[in-house]
Amino acid sequence: MRLLIVEDDRDAADYLVKAFREVGHVADAAHDGEDGLAMALDGQYNVLIIDRMLPKLDGLNVIGALRGKGIETPVLILSALGQVDDRVKGLRAGGDDYLPKPYSFSELLARVEVLARRRVGRSEETVLRVGDLELDRLSHSVRRGPEEISLQPREFRLLEYLMQHAGQVVTRTMLLENVWDYHFDPQTNVIDVHISRLRSKIDKGFSQPLLHTIRGAGYMVRDGAR
């Protein structure tokens, strides 16, 4: 995956470039809005990571210029402004995701990978399959092998989101944002309890677990046989 990081703090940019290279991605860095825009227009990037406040050309303007030229590369906005309305502004300007600073690298990585793969578009499929687990979005039914599994509506949406991003790390914040539509930190880790409930419904009694906890990052639905 090719990434462009537009961030004026050189230390932070260098750290991100190094960290992304370590996990096997190609990352370039630009340090102001104009350079960033030029590089984004030239290179074939899968995801752009753009800081909101940049010298010369503001992050939101860079995104606006890109979208104006018909370039639909997914953009993740990084920002020190973390309030809900800042987020809404960022997404309205054409960003695809918004991550307030300070962030953890695992959170950023998980979100970038989800953004990069979104193009493939599992979201249109009506039946999602991971191993012998099957989720039918039309009939709202879930089955594992021959067995019908009954889920609460929220559990269904939780599993649906995890299966849409099968093979990818999904963080607790991402779940809270996408399944519950909350953008605050609920202090106690309520998500873990929801996951363990879901896990007991889909994995209990099967030799091959599908819902995995990724330490220090989040969760992943994956066919263990792979």
Binding site: Q83, F184, V193
Partner: protein, 474 residues
């Protein structure tokens, strides 16, 4: 000089000058008008009398000829007073009367004339006549001429008396007005100076100072009272701020110290990679906690500054109660707590959905943390949390009630403050900001957070006005 300069620059003094000018002009106009009218009136009176006399005298002439006229005029002319008479022949030779030294040609035309003259009984003083008179010349049948007039000295004297009265009164108005103005200005200035003095000491840092109030209830008193109320509020805010910064210092410094110690210790003692790894993981965890505290503080600051009023919309609070209840229900169950949501009827309210959700989530989170786990429960009852959303008149209520140990009444108002955590809860995780945020959110919406005794347990109530915050003064 500077004191006087200050006096002259004051608004009161400038106003005094303006009023003084207006008043002096008015007085001058009034007296001038009076003087002119008096003069006109006297002239009219003279004209009437003279006309009547001429009619009378010409009647005498008609009855008794020139001889009788001369006798009558002669008698009248000898009386003292301001009446003037003269009878002449056609050639101008005086036959009777008390007037002489008329300018030549005065008697040539009949009609009204204002002229200089000298009385016959006065001794000659120089060449010119020295009195002024208003007279009428009348031509009698037979070529005789009759002049009847009045001395104008009286009229002029009266005119001048009124004029000088006018001048004096204007001067007195100005002098008295200036003196009064200076007096009032100095009084006002003294009070303003006292206020300025107090303000200066307040600016120097003595926030306890208050402006003097004279107790007369005038505009300066009202101003002083309002400023004092403002100072009261500022002092409360400042002491609140100081308390908060003290608490921030304490609650952020403690984890920061822990963070630093742990890193230092790892540098000194760790010998292998797993040991470094453990230390680093603990460091990250600690900094995540710090970030969460910072975020909560920013959120409270934002709610308190009223910025979040911009994105308010109408939504159903009952739905929020269900959502939050659903979010926490598995966690509560895991801890052996029964979490129930009672919100059947829609409770529509205008507000910031995200913030209200978070406020309610904080209350539920608190209840889960502090309700006693099974076994220790009061009266042996199952720990229970009930989340409710309901309508109450023009307000909607979101309540979270538990049957845990509750909060002693004396501590209830204190726990809402930032970072306040009761002694028995120090061991629990949490920033101590949950209730402060809920309270700030309620106030942002023009509502309030109250804590009540649930007998047993704690009942937290967020009351919000249905229509959102009242738009008054920001």
């Amino acid at each position: 000089m500077t004191a006087l300069g200050k006096l002259f620059r004051t608004t009161t003094f400038k106003l005094t000058l303006v009023y003084l000018t207006v008043f002096a002009l008015f007085a001058a106009f009034l007296l001038g008008y009076f003087a002119l009218n008096t003069r006109r009136l006297i002239t009219e009176q003279i004209t009437d009398t003279v006309n009547a006399e001429i009619t009378g005298l010409s009647e005498q002439y008609r009855l008794g000829g020139i001889r009788r006229l001369v006798i009558v005029v002669d008698t009248r002319a000898r009386r003292p007073g301001s009446s003037l008479y003269l009878v002449t022949t056609f050639a101008g030779e005086a036959l009777a009367g008390n007037v002489t030294a008329l300018p030549p040609g005065t008697l040539d035309n009949s009609g009204w004339v204002e002229t200089r003259y000298r009385r016959l009984d006065e001794s000659e003083q120089g060449e010119h006549a020295d009195h002024e008179a208003l007279a009428r010349v009348f031509q009698l049948p037979g070529g005789f001429r009759l002049l009847v007039g009045r001395d104008l000295e009286e009229r002029e004297r009266l005119y001048h008396i009124v004029l000088s009265a006018g001048r004096w009164s204007v001067i007195i108005v100005i002098v008295l007005g200036l003196a009064g103005g200076l007096f009032v200005t100095r009084r006002v200035l003294r009070r303003v100076d006292a206020m300025t003095e107090t303000t200066r000491t307040i600016m120097d840092g003595d926030l306890g100072g208050r402006l003097p109030v004279a107790g007369t209830g005038d505009e300066l008193d009202r101003l002083a009272e309002n400023l004092n109320a403002m100072l009261e509020r500022i002092e409360a805010l400042m002491s609140g701020l100081k308390e908060v910064s003290d608490n921030i210092a304490h609650d952020l410094k403690t984890p920061l110290t822990r963070l630093r110690n742990r890193a230092e210790q790892a540098l000194r003692n760790a010998k292998c990679e797993p040991e470094y790894r453990t230390a680093l993981e603990a460091t990250i965890e600690e900094s995540d906690g710090l970030i969460a505290t910072f975020n909560a503080l920013l959120m409270i600051a934002r709610a308190e500054s009223g910025q979040a009023r911009d994105d308010m919309s109408e939504f159903d609070a009952a739905e929020i109660a269900h959502d939050v209840g659903e979010l926490y229900e598995p966690l509560a169950e895991e801890k052996g707590i029964a979490l129930k949501v009672e919100a059947e009827a829609p409770a529509r309210v205008k507000g910031n959905r995200e913030l209200i959700s978070q406020a309610l989530a904080n209350l539920v989170d608190n209840a889960i943390k502090y309700v006693e786990p099974q076994g220790d429960a009061v009266n042996g009852a199952t720990p229970e949390i009930i989340v409710k959303a309901m309508n109450e008149g023009e307000r909607i209520l979101l309540t979270v009630a538990d049957n845990g140990p509750g909060i002693p009444e004396s501590d209830r108002s204190r726990v809402v403050e930032r970072f306040v955590r009761l002694e028995q809860s120090r061991s629990q995780p949490g920033s101590g900001l949950g209730l402060s945020l809920a309270s700030a959110v309620a106030r942002l919406h023009g509502g309030e957070l109250t804590l009540e005794d649930n007998q047993p347990g704690l009942k937290s109530i967020i009351a919000l006005p249905r229509g959102g915050p009242v738009q008054s003064g920001g």
